[in-house]
């Protein structure tokens, strides 16, 4: 099993969620994060003093899926989250050793 995590622009969340639903992903977990990357923040003036907003708000989406679905998920997220402008974000994929559904104790793919 894999955990696909994607850092995306916040206003793309709904599109990504819908794209994932369309390919049958039944659960995701979402986290508010701040990102620092090629997309630069802005320098603002607050009361005449400089104010660098380095960190931009981003959303991190975590999707645990069966290995067989990974490519589809990546594609869905990429398409839904892409604006073509700098700062669209990244996808990282990790191996998951074990999955357990707390409610039932099920493990493995059944737990998703």
């Amino acid at each position: 099993m894999k955990l696909v995590t994607a850092i995306i622009k916040p206003f793309k969340l709904d599109d990504v969620r819908e794209a994932l639903a369309d390919i049958g992903v039944s659960g995701i977990t979402v986290i508010e994060v701040k990102g620092f990357g090629r997309q630069k923040g802005h320098t603002e003036l607050y009361r005449g003093a400089e104010y660098v907003v380095d960190f931009l708000p981003k959303i991190k989406v975590e999707i645990a899926v069966d290995d067989s679905l990974v490519e589809q998920v990546i594609e869905a997220v990429t398409n839904a989250a892409r604006t073509g402008k700098i700062g669209d974000g990244k996808i990282f994929v990790f191996d998951v050793g074990q999955v357990i559904r707390i409610r039932t104790g099920e493990t493995g793919p059944d737990a998703l």
Partner: protein, 418 residues
């Protein structure tokens, strides 16, 4: 009357006016908090900036020209002739007051102070309706014209002794001249401006965009409620004898009862329609009650005032839903509260005041609506040509605070506003 009595009565009426004016000025804070509470966090600093700036612009424009238009030295009842003198000061001479036989009974400066805060109120109504997407400087440009020109002209028609006054139109404290006026200008702006991104889905869905800070919205409503005692109470214009004092007291009671009635019935209506006690509807209901009673807060009995306000509260809930269905996007419900219910207030006058006629009320209603809507549409349109009304799509997503004000209202609190 004896001289010392005249002195004292003049002082008391002037003081009453000043306190009433201070209460109405306080309504500016109410609008600011209400609107700040009902927009999203990312647009909060900008709406605050609009509110403080529009109040200041209203004061300056009305001093320079608006007051002179509204209370001119001459005019034919429709077109006033401007009186430029106010800005240089001066007030009634003691001797003139004493010899006026009671005709001049309070300070001219106090009169200005009371009047100027009304203009600001009308303008405050606009800011809420166009919130979250209109450019700051476009809005302020409109504020200049609205407070210096559009509002004063129709104010002249009634309160300045113009033609609406002559035909017997009744509007005690401004359900029409202030509230409907503000709402008409707002409607014109919203039509040219369009809805917020994401408010209406392509599939016809209407999405909710919840306000970010309901304690602020509630505080704003309480401030407005308090300020309204000055708004309506001061509009009796005199308190210094038994009859007038009774009248002011009746206005206070009725103003309060109408707000209470509006709140309770709006809450109940929302509960019935949606199954939940929607706080924002309750707040709009209180304001609707206040707007409804403003055209005639003197003649109703307390129970009648509760009902007039209460009907305003019911009406506002349906108005908000209907206007939303028409895809007119008004984040704070200003057009419903001040426009739709403002009309109801005007129409309700003859129900309790036998001096008023439905005909005159309708003529007043339509002429205010027509004048303000038409001139506003023109002005908004010219501003749109000159500088554009709407921020860029990107700025709208990011929030207008960063783009317009260069700062955030709550920099430490909100992570990624959607």
């Amino acid at each position: 009357m004896e001289e010392p009595i005249t002195h004292l009565a003049y002082a008391l009426d002037t003081f009453y006016f000043l306190i009433s004016g201070a209460l109405v000025m306080w309504m500016a804070a109410g609008f600011a908090m209400l609107e700040a509470g009902l927009v999203r966090a990312k647009n909060t600093a900008e709406i605050l900036t609009k509110n403080v700036a529009l109040f200041s612009i209203a004061c300056i424009m009305y001093m320079l020209i608006g007051y002179g238009i509204m209370y001119p030295t001459g005019g034919n009842g429709v077109i006033p002739s401007i009186n430029w003198s106010f800005m240089f000061g001066g007030d009634h001479e003691v001797a003139a007051v004493l010899s006026s036989e009671g005709a001049t009974y309070y300070s001219g400066m106090a009169d200005f102070f009371f009047q100027v805060v009304f203009v600001a109120t009308a303008m405050s109504i606009v800011s809420g309706a166009v919130a979250e997407r209109m450019k700051l400087w476009a809005f302020l440009a409109f504020a200049v014209i609205m407070t210096g020109f559009i509002y004063p002209v129709q104010g002249y028609w009634k309160w300045g002794g113009g033609w609406l006054d002559s035909i017997g139109f009744n509007d005690f404290a401004g359900s029409g001249i202030v509230h409907l006026c503000g709402a008409s200008a707002a409607l014109a702006g919203v039509l040219l401006l369009g809805a917020r991104k994401g408010k209406y889905g392509k599939d016809g869905s209407i999405n909710a965009i919840p306000g970010s800070n309901l304690p602020l919205a509630t505080l704003g409503t309480f401030i407005l409620w308090l300020g309204w005692f000055g708004f309506n109470g001061g509009s009796e214009l005199k308190i210094s004898d038994i009859g007038e004092a009774n009248a002011v007291a009746a206005v206070f009671v009725n103003t309060n009862m109408a707000a209470a009635g509006g709140l309770v019935l709006a809450l109940a209506t929302a509960r019935m329609l949606f199954g939940k006690a929607d706080l924002t509807m309750a707040l709009n209901g209180a304001l609707a009650g206040l707007v409804a009673i403003t055209a005639e807060p003197l003649t109703p009995s307390p129970i009648a005032a509760s009902l007039i306000g209460g009907l305003g509260g019911v009406l506002v809930v349906f108005a908000i839903i209907t206007i939303d269905k028409l895809r007119v996007d008004d984040p704070v419900g200003a057009i419903s509260v001040h426009g739709v219910v403002g009309m109801w207030g005007l129409i309700a006058v003859p129900l309790t005041n036998s001096d008023a006629t439905f005909l005159a009320q309708f003529i007043g209603l339509f002429s205010i609506l027509a004048w303000v809507f038409a001139t506003s549409l023109l002005v908004w349109f010219l501003i749109k040509l000159a500088m554009g009304l709407r921020v860029s799509e990107e700025e709208e997503y990011e929030g207008v605070d960063i783009g317009e004000c260069g700062l955030e209202a709550y920099p430490e609190f909100v992570g990624s506003g959607k």
